[in-house]
Amino acid sequence: MVKLKIKDVEFGYSNMPVLQNVNIELAESEILGVVGPNGAGKSTLLRCIDRILIPQKGCIMLDGRDIREISRMELARKIGYVPQDGSQIFPATVFDTVLMGRRPHLGWRSSERDTEKVLETLKMLNIEDLAMRDINELSGGQQQKVFIARALTQEPELLLLDEPTSNLDIRHQLEVMEIVKRVVRERGISAIMAIHDLNLASRYADRIIMMNGGRVYAEGEPSSVLNAENIRHVYGVEAKLSSHDGRPYIVPLRAYVSANR
């Protein structure tokens, strides 16, 4: 079944087009990886899906309903968003940060049930030891897990992750991706992640969208999208590809020096 349908979406800042003619469909229980060079429009796309930005043209349908017709609170119960940078100015404990994910579900105060949900999620991500620590004192990897925990306590049907593995060491990268994969399988939700690391995308995404200059350049299974030809055209990089567990494995070799890129 189609969970999310993005139809003819266009978005731009004043005269600068960022997204052009974007059409994407997402099935239930699917992980969609969005790859592409810096400035390709990956983050903008995620922000449009969560209605943080509103496209000038086209529409985005969640379960067949236009997201513009869904109230922000209701949307927050359906879509969880993990931003790239979740910096916090004032002190907040990890527990309270994750508890914020319950905001769309509650009124003025939190109940015992919300506390349980927070603890459950912390435990699932193996960060319960951090519960009473200040979020600003944690490492980048730990913070990233906290933000994912916050999005998960929202109990969303669709999870949006903006570069969830940037700034993380390889161990944290794998942990975070495994968590996403597990949650998608266990809860039957869908996920879209913008990601730079092509090998992580190849390994964890069910399907990949390769974006270039605000447009969808290629779409399909990792093995069909991640090939030397596409990587050369979109990134201007010569790459060697091999296969690992049936998925493409990319070794970037060198950047093309070319005037028309």
């Binding site: 209605r51 922000r72 209701e74 910096s87 004032f90 914020m100 905001r103 435990k123 200040d134 161990r171």
Partner: protein, 364 residues
């Protein structure tokens, strides 16, 4: 992935219970601090009411307060206690609480630790309004009592920065950067105007206006307490109601939106209510600054950033703080009374430095 599924099942439930207990303890500590601050207000008020240049024994003061509730005030002692000391104390508590809560909200919505009624131009606006009323007022509208003209003018002008910010928000997104820069610009503009009219003013009128701007509780009276108390009772519940949204907004606009908050609208709403609260206080007291900047920070150091607890905590603490400074100001050089605005900055400032050095690192 062994690293993820490999939680030790033995200690799993124990650990959860331990975190729960820790969290309860943390919440308990916050509530304790709120109660402590509230108690502090009563203690300082209890001491403060017995002090003053007109000597009245402490026990007699309390009996005067008690009897004054049931019968009208007649003797000289009764007038001193009921019409001079009590209004000053109550105004001090209300002003301290209101300014501290407004400061907490402004720092929260603007995600900026420097935000306060001072930095947003509200105080400068009020000062300018009062200055033109004092210096030109009686000439412009004869017949209207100057006292009320000053209050009304200060109130109207202190709201100008809010209207400017609201106006800007119609054309551009109400981001925190826009608001704080607009506020600082307003502060400079009004300060410039104040200096301009001072430059051409007569020295007597200028002195009076200058005293107003320093800020203090010397004009406190029951008549002035009423409108302040009404505004306080209207604004504070509204702000408390938004405390959860304020928490979420602390994580940044995008996150707050994704958690269901209409960020621009919530920010504008809180801004307007906090400004109204501030304006209703400083139009009676003059520009008592600092408490609005510092009380929220001191409370954050002690109880952390959860606004559901921070708002009442910094309110009570701010009330106690201003009242304490006021009491000191009345006593250190008695019978000379040092204005609260001056005491606040001279004593409160070093105290804040001390706290910054000594702060509990974990929560701030």
């Amino acid at each position: 992935m062994a690293s993820i599924s490999g939680t030790e099942t033995v200690s799993g439930t124990e650990k959860i219970a331990e975190i729960k207990a820790q969290y309860k303890k943390f919440v308990g500590r916050k509530i304790l601090f709120i109660l402590f601050s509230l108690a502090l207000i009563f203690i300082i008020a209890g001491v403060s009411v017995t002090l003053g240049s007109y000597p009245i024994p402490a026990m007699e003061v309390y009996s005067i307060i008690w009897h004054g509730i049931f019968q009208s005030v007649e003797t000289r002692e009764e007038i001193v206690v009921w019409n001079l000391r009590l209004p000053r104390i109550i105004t001090g508590i209300l002003a301290g609480m209101g300014l501290a809560i407004a400061g907490t909200m402004m720092q929260g919505i603007l995600r900026n630790p420097l935000a306060s009624p001072y930095t947003l131009g509200i105080s400068a606006g009020a000062g300018f309004g009062a200055a033109i009323a004092i210096i030109y007022g009686t000439v412009l509208i004869p017949g209207v009592s100057t006292t009320y003209l000053v209050i009304a003018n200060a109130f109207v002008f202190s709201l100008i920065p809010v209207f400017v910010i609201m106006g800007l928000a119609r054309f551009r997104k109400a981001t925190s950067e826009l608001m704080i820069l607009a506020g600082i610009a307003m502060m400079y503009i009004f300060s410039g105007y104040i200096h301009l009219i001072f430059y051409f003013a007569e020295s007597e009128a200028m002195k009076e206006a200058y005293f107003w701007i320093i800020g203090g509780l010397s004009r406190a009276s029951w008549d002035n307490i009423m409108p302040m108390a009404v505004m306080f009772a209207l604004c504070v519940p509204l702000l408390m109601w938004k405390s959860w949204d304020l928490n979420v907004m602390g994580a940044g606009d995008e996150t707050a939106k994704s958690l269901g908050i209409n960020v621009e609208r919530a920010r504008l709403f809180i801004m307007i209510v906090a400004c109204l609260l501030t304006a209703s206080i400083i139009s009676f007291t003059g520009c008592i600054g600092f408490v609005g900047l510092v009380a929220p920070h001191i409370c954050r150091i002690i109880i952390g950033g959860d606004n559901r607890f921070l708002i009442p905590a910094s309110g009570f603490f701010g009330g106690a703080f201003l009242l304490g400074m006021s009491t000191l100001g009345r006593t250190v050089m008695a019978p000379v009374i040092i204005p609260e605005g001056v005491m606040m900055a001279c004593i409160g400032g070093p105290f804040f430095f001390f706290l910054l050095l000594w702060r509990m690192k974990e929560y701030w």
